[in-house]
Amino acid sequence: MGDNGTKVVVLGVGLHPFGRFPEKSVADLGRTAALEAMKDAGVDYKDIQAGYCGRVVASSGVGLSIFEELGSTGIPVTNVELACASSSRAAELAANAIKAGVHDVCMVVGVEKMPRGMLPLGLGAGGEVSFVGAMGLALLPGEYALQAQRHMALYGSRPEHFAQVSVKSHKNGCLNPYAQYQVPLTLEEVMNSRMVADPLTLYQCCPTSDGASAVILCSEERARRYTTRPVYLVTSMGATPIYTPGEVNLSEGPTAWLAQRVYEKAGMGPEDVDVAQCHDAFTPGEVLTVEKLGFCKEGEGGVFVWEGNTEITGKKPMNTDGGLLSRGHPMGATGGAMITEIVRQLRGEAGPRQVANAKVGMIHNAGIGGIQVSILST
């Protein structure tokens, strides 16, 4: 994106609402999101030259099963998996293909159907228990709770700082008709919900969800046929954890290191970001990430959130559509949903969630297996 002259435009976005849809198949969810994105872009299915499907659980052939719902044009369809960042990574791959001149128009569909309850990370494919699982260590909220406890010990942040992320998230979710939860929560309600892993209570954990997202990307030249006000995917990069001798690492990837590279590539800095999305699977996701993206100093994330800086009207509006916490988290679909909200913000189409004068958006998406950071702008 940008370094060889070919710019990538996000031409269309679409969603299937997030929630519980037991009667709908993965193909149903994906088809709905794809149709909305194609209508948004003003393209027909025959204009799509390549498909990418971000998903975690669904097996081989899922991408084709979704794209076949739309037509049968022979395009290459690729399944992409990076856990909760699958459709973000898929978008980067699609953008790279456009940049390389391989395709002009690509569609990325993200989709997931999930059972209720905790992800069984301690169990193998056949249901066998791993050593880590038997020892009670395969607890995903635990990972974020471990980070929160360290943050509290080092910087004096408080449990209510983390809980406030959920309060803001649910307030924003009320303004998003596609969100899984459109119900406000008070700080007391969040903190008094059942404790899952100290300090994280139930309402500080994202739900499991069904849902889909679709994003259509094209070259800048192609975009001129459809719009006079393109939104650009300026850059999108991924990373895996970097081993530093003597340092303990608990997160999915080196967010601060990657964000620095993304800013350099985009020729921008944290001060340029008007609106953002981050991986708030659990509330510490937002508190820690605002530091790593450079929106505030290290250690000050708790206070930064507590003082309202990530509200829609704040300095760095974060997860304006409710984030994973209340928009929901069908794992494969989340990346595309993050892109969707940023695009709507940058177009001025976010309605009651609109951030004034939003020109530059940033996305941080994490998954077991790596992270993805992107910048979009008008």
């Binding site: 905790m118 038997a134 020892m135 009670g136 260590l137 080092l154 608990l250």
Partner: protein, 145 residues
């Protein structure tokens, strides 16, 4: 009086998983964690691995790790995750050893309200279950010093 052919079986300790730690001689002893040490640059790792991340050396030595460390961070699990043999509530801790390796573990013999970052802890034997032959399946936990 004659010995019966089927003598009373002495209970054996069996590690829950081989190669991760060494059992002590007796149930009163402490287990020893088995990690890797790079013969070229002396970096330590846990769990074991084959290739040194710091210098690229292919082929690392098995190394016994310190039995004491400090809590780097912790949380209290209040919901038992799927597959866990340990019932909530219990404390999960990341313990940092002098070798600069981080051990993810469960704490035992501890007041859950008193767990703190920086606490000194030591490894201890933990009986998990009995196997089908009546042996004790053993693992390790950490407890306050």
């Amino acid at each position: 009086m004659s010995d019966t052919k089927d003598e009373a079986k002495t209970k054996r300790m069996v590690p829950l998983r081989e190669g991760i730690f060494r059992l002590p001689e007796s149930p009163d002893g402490k287990p020893v964690l088995l990690g890797s040490r790079c013969p070229k640059c002396a970096a330590y790792y846990f769990p074991k691995r084959h290739i040194c991340i710091a210098c690229g050396q292919n082929g690392l030595d098995e190394a016994e790790l310190s039995q004491r460390g400090k809590i780097w961070t912790f949380t209290i699990a209040r919901q038992t995750p799927p597959g866990s043999w340990i019932e909530a509530p219990y404390a999960i801790a990341v313990v940092e050893l002098p070798e600069k390796v981080a051990i993810r573990t469960v704490l035992t013999d501890v007041d859950l309200e008193a767990v703190k970052v920086g606490m000194d802890v030591e490894i201890t034997l933990a009986k998990m279950k009995e196997d089908q032959e009546g042996n004790d399946l053993m693992s390790y936990k950490f407890k306050p010093v």
